[in-house]
């Protein structure tokens, strides 16, 4: 048994750490996603970019980074791979050459259909009801916002 009830400075075990629950659950999600995304030729972070573009095409790199909490140093190579796969194009905005616009190709748009079943598969794998999922999603996102505020 762990020392959950012990003094305030007793070192917690791994399984008592909320951060570890989050960390390991992220890996677990990845494992469930992999067989679903492999046929689409996408990794999980690439899938997130595609979901973001399906909702709003033509975003800037920085805009995607804000939505996904990722840096350009992460996104640039990832986007280049998606470009090489034929799912999107990257082009400088003529009105401001500093910005790079990311646009879906026909193949990239069509991929949305092939991925239609994915969310339902994931829901089932979580073993949660839709209501529990929505509640948990909200609580976790709220904690994330607290953490980001604390990180400054």
């Amino acid at each position: 048994m762990s020392d959950s009830g012990a003094g305030p400075e007793t070192p917690p075990g791994i399984d008592d750490l909320l951060c570890f629950a989050v960390y390991s659950t992220g890996h677990a999600f990845n494992r469930v996603y992999k067989p679903l995304l492999d046929p689409l030729g996408l990794t999980y972070p690439q899938y997130l970019v595609m979901v973001s573009l399906w909702a709003k095409d033509g975003q800037r790199v920085g805009e995607l980074g804000e939505a996904l909490f990722l840096e350009s140093s992460t996104l640039t190579p990832l986007l280049k791979r998606l470009e090489a796969a034929g799912y999107l194009t990257r082009s400088r905005d003529p009105s401001d050459e500093r910005q790079v616009r990311v646009r879906l190709t026909a193949a990239g748009t069509a991929l949305s259909d092939k991925a239609r079943h994915v969310p339902r598969c994931i829901l089932e794998a979580t073993g949660l009801s839709v209501q529990s999922l929505i509640r948990l999603q909200g609580e976790i996102a709220s904690m994330r916002d607290n953490l980001l505020k604390a990180a400054g």
Copy 2:
């Protein structure tokens, strides 16, 4: 506004995905941990290994992998870096040369004291009460176990 209430096959936006809440919260935890762990010379995954060893010294590589849900291909280089930092030793078990025992050095054991304040700092950053934290930790870990079961 998102389409939470729409048909069962409506593509969800990024912020509706539970997996994304988990994924981005993992990154947010990392950002809070970094300034706390940098002075200790640890990365976040390295910290998890140390926490695991502080609770139980002399574990095998595979044992650590089971506890942390990590493969030897991830742990081996990570452990080598911790060994180079002087926090632990890696040595083959004489009674079974296949196994590698990971043991804390004096410096590695002493590091526990220097990390004593970390959990409290993290708790504060989450903005949660201890009770909420424990409940949320349990719900997330339970979902993780469901996901791993589904992944086979």
